[in-house]
């Protein structure tokens, strides 16, 4: 009967796996920043990860890289969903604005800010009666675009 002297010790080289994970981290980080930049001028888009303890710059272990990859992936999905939801809402607002412009009388006193259309600036589209009270009584409605941002206090 053959005798087995000992089980050979196997050292797993994790460098390839770490390199692969670092590439995934790089791709996710770029896509996350791309999402943030393409969201401009919309505000309130948060792409920062939940702060985690940092021991300074170092070679991350396989587990740390996996955790980072997962957190980035989750944040990217969240940011994309947030952006898509905002884009849908803006599309609905643009359609409403078109209807307001076509039939202002049917959208009395409706207000849509430029920010709600995904545009920059502080303008607000507002359906108002022409000539104030007289316009209200006579059914003369118009869409006014107020312009300019309020001065800082």
């Amino acid at each position: 009967m053959a005798v087995v002297a000992g089980t050979p010790r196997v050292r797993v080289d994790e460098r390839g796996a770490r390199r692969n994970l670092r590439e995934q981290v790089a791709r996710l980080e770029r896509e996350l920043q791309h999402t943030l930049v393409s969201a401009f001028p919309r505000t309130g888009m948060d792409v920062s990860l939940t702060p985690a303890y940092s021991a300074g710059p170092r070679v991350l272990s396989l587990g740390e890289l996996e955790d980072l990859r997962d957190r980035l992936s989750s944040k990217l999905a969240q940011a994309r969903a947030q952006l898509a939801e905002r884009a849908d809402q803006e599309e609905r607002n643009r359609r409403l604005l078109e209807r307001m412009l076509l039939e202002p009388g049917k959208h009395r006193f409706v207000r849509i800010a430029n920010a709600d259309l995904g545009e920059g600036g502080c303008g607000v589209w507002h359906v108002r009666p022409r000539l104030g009270l007289i316009g209200m009584l006579c059914g003369w409605w118009q869409v006014k675009l107020s312009s300019g941002c309020p001065l800082a206090a």
Partner: protein, 205 residues
């Protein structure tokens, strides 16, 4: 050598084996400058003012999609730094510009480093050549952090400020300017950053 600007002598730093195994494209480049710092001359102040005027909020956001700042941001992530907490040097400069309203002049060396950073996106640091033993390199500090080292040990944490005792002082007569070239950053940008920095230092007389 002819011309107004002396040819910068860029030297290649070493990278410790265990670091090179993980980051084969990581490089440290150094340049020796035969002078110290000094007061900010008026022309450098003007140049900073001009850079401030050209830099706006939209650029600060678009920075994240620019190849060079983005490469540093990605590398920060890969070495366990959160670039939203520990900002990359160029993003830090951009935020300071927006908060303070201008790129502020401090002293000749820091102004030269700042100008090179803003114009190229490449961060540079400087040590007193009389206190560091050349060549410099990238290694690991005893606590496991990646660090810029000389033959005796760490001089600075990677991307961090230079440790006390190695920085440039008013007595410094020779400086070593160094940069960390991360994957995805072409060498020509590093050369450009060094040239820009050297140009500012030499123009100051």
């Amino acid at each position: 050598m002819e011309g107004d600007l002396d040819e910068p002598l860029l030297a290649e730093g070493w990278v410790a084996d265990q670091v090179r195994d993980e980051f084969p494209e990581l490089r440290l480049r150094t340049m020796a400058v035969e002078r110290g710092s000094g007061k900010t001359p008026p022309e450098v102040r003007d140049r900073l003012r001009m850079l401030s005027d050209r830099f706006r909020g939209a650029q600060a956001i678009a920075l994240r999609r620019s190849p060079i700042p983005s490469a540093y941001r990605v590398f920060f992530r890969q070495v366990g730094l959160d670039p939203d907490t520990t900002r990359t040097p160029v993003e830090e400069a951009a935020v300071r510009r927006l908060v303070k309203g201008a790129f502020e002049a401090t002293n000749l060396l820091d102004d030269a480093l700042l100008i090179a950073l803003v114009e190229t996106g490449i961060p540079l640091w400087a040590v007193d050549a009389g206190r560091a033993r050349e060549p410099l390199g990238i290694g690991t500090a005893p606590d496991g952090r990646l660090a810029v080292c000389d033959a005796d040990g760490p001089l600075a944490t990677l991307f961090g400020p230079v440790f006390e005792g190695y920085g440039v002082t008013w007595d410094t007569t020779r400086m070593l300017i160094y940069t960390v070239q991360v994957p995805g950053v072409p060498g020509i940008f590093v050369d450009e950053a060094m040239w820009t920095c050297l140009g500012v230092l030499q123009d100051a007389g």
